[in-house]
Amino acid sequence: MRELKLMKGNEAVAEAAIRCGVDGYFGYPITPQSEIMETLMDLRPWESTGMVVLQAESEIASINMVYGGAGCGKRVMTTSSSPGVSLMQEGLTYLAGAELPCVVVNVVRGGPGLGTIQPAQSDYFQTVKGGGHGDYKLITLAPASVQEMADFVEDAFNLAFKYRNPVMILSDGVIGQMMEKVELKEFAPRWTMDYIEENHPWATTGKKKERAKNIITSVQLEASVQEAFNHKLQAKYRAVEENEVLFEEVLCDDAEYIIVAYGSSARICQKSIEIAREKGIKVGMLRPITLYPFPAEQLRKRAEQVKGMLSVEMSAGQMVEDVKLAVECKIPVEHFGRFGGSVHSPGEVVEALEQKLIGG
């Protein structure tokens, strides 16, 4: 039987990182996610698995340490919250441009600016639409429980190395801070240098006589070369969209309305569905687990069946744009959500559903 523990979402990230054999963590303190590095420093994995844990001088340094480690074919990660992730955008576009695998966790708080330390989902655009400069994508996983905070660390690394692309775990202050029971995985060994050199022959592990030098870079001075590289990236993203969409549906089969929600908002909306169904409203929920790639195809299919969709997010309305694009104006799509650090109640969601879609 696997080990069960009651822990915070942030602590679960740290535990899972050590257990799945992460090589390096580089971070900078910021609320509401500082428990991740604090937990790592407390658990001292450098004495058990050999994992490197380093507090950097800034989020800029953290993400660039991640670049350095990823370039060596190592499994490296950083975590932060919204203002810190804004500072990391330069590093993220370089990582994407150099096709480096890594995992970044954003425990989102309210913005803009220094904003609030309370939870929010207002970094959706920054995460799935780019964030930094240039044509690139971050594969994005959105956990809705402490268990998923733990499980997605390894899943994210698997995706990162499968596609040689940064993966973001887009969490929020609710999931990071709340405590739940977690089933922890067994400890897996870290990769050996031999394994890395065999499986990631692009990594800068030192030029052996029998191979050409490895270069990790994102600069292509020739426009034609840069364009060809961008076509290659786009082909990779099409493969990601084809193969990696994840979502969960709750009571959708007989639904007349669908709530689209992810992360902690999806947890709240589960209760909203119960309340609505008690009132006789046939409503289901589609929870995107991957925000990029977005479950657009499934939403398109559900649009044939339902009268309307409500995108419920702790933002002024960001994911709602992707829901609208997915359903191609076939049905009404509305947004509801408290934001700026406020969290909607299940009842508020039901009221919004009634006012914006049913009553209208």
Binding site: G24, E57, N64, G71, M193
Partner: protein, 254 residues
């Protein structure tokens, strides 16, 4: 006439291009010190037999394509971030030899925080710092190290210290930090200075092998295009103007 053909024989060979240098022609302007320093790094790597264990971190600037010129594994960093990359590479693979190669804008302006903190942590790496007092790649703008009164495209009348501040002596600052074990300032404008710079680079890499902390080798260098002089004239100008402000020699050696 001459007997040179009797001298040009394998047994008389005294100086040749190291094979750690690639066959690519350098993208640098004629007479640029970057090429000389690249060659010295390559020679030190060859002499220490560490080609298969050395990872270079290239910056943004003229030497952004440094990876084309040395036959070792390389990572190219975002502007100023090379010390952060080098930190992770070395910590994750402590048995490898890691160096960053950075210009003045990279190391002493946009990357000041990464530079100071890598040195302060005593990262066991070599940092090679080319100080030519100007932004070469972008066309000769004022650098953090541009001399007082020295013209650049963003201070065409010369650096006005009342407006822009004095040029930063970053090596002296870094020498104050306990994490640095070796901070030296050298040049490559004469054969004797090239030999000294090579010794300094060798020492820096030996320090890394001995886990002594951060070694910083500053090379005061020319930018004849940016300075708008011939290569030979730029070396003379450097001696007369740069060295009084940036005196050569060891700043720290422990």
């Amino acid at each position: 006439m001459s007997d040179i053909n009797t001298i040009i024989k394998p047994e008389n060979l005294t100086y040749k291009r190291t094979e750690v240098l690639s066959d690519n022609d350098l993208s640098y302007c004629p007479g640029c010190g970057h090429g000389t320093v690249h060659k010295l790094i390559a020679e030190v790597i060859e002499e220490m037999d560490i080609q298969d264990t050395t990872i270079g971190i290239a910056p943004v600037g003229c030497s952004v394509l440094a990876y084309n010129y040395l036959e070792i594994d390389w990572q190219q960093a975002a502007h100023g971030r090379a010390p952060a990359l080098a930190t992770a590479v070395k910590r994750l693979m402590p048995e490898k030899n890691v160096f960053s190669y950075q210009g003045d804008g990279d190391l002493a302006a946009i990357g000041t925080a990464e530079t100071i903190h890598a040195c302060n942590r005593g990262e066991n790496i070599v940092m090679i710092f080319i100080n030519n007092g100007i932004y070469g790649m972008t066309g000769g703008q004022m650098a953090p190290t541009t001399l007082p009164g020295m013209p650049a495209s963003t201070c065409p009348a010369g650096r006005d210290v009342s407006h822009d501040g004095e040029p930063i002596k970053i090596s002296e600052i870094l020498a104050q930090l306990p994490g640095t074990c070796y901070v030296t300032r050298q040049s490559v404008h004469t054969a004797a200075n090239v030999r000294k710079t090579k010794k300094a680079l060798r020492k820096a890499f030996e320090n890394q092998k001995a886990n002594k902390g951060t070694s910083l080798v500053e090379v005061v260098s020319n930018c004849n295009s940016g300075w708008k002089m011939t290569p030979v004239k730029s070396n003379e100008w450097m001696e007369e103007n740069m060295f009084p402000y940036y005196p050569l020699g060891d700043i720290k050696n422990k």
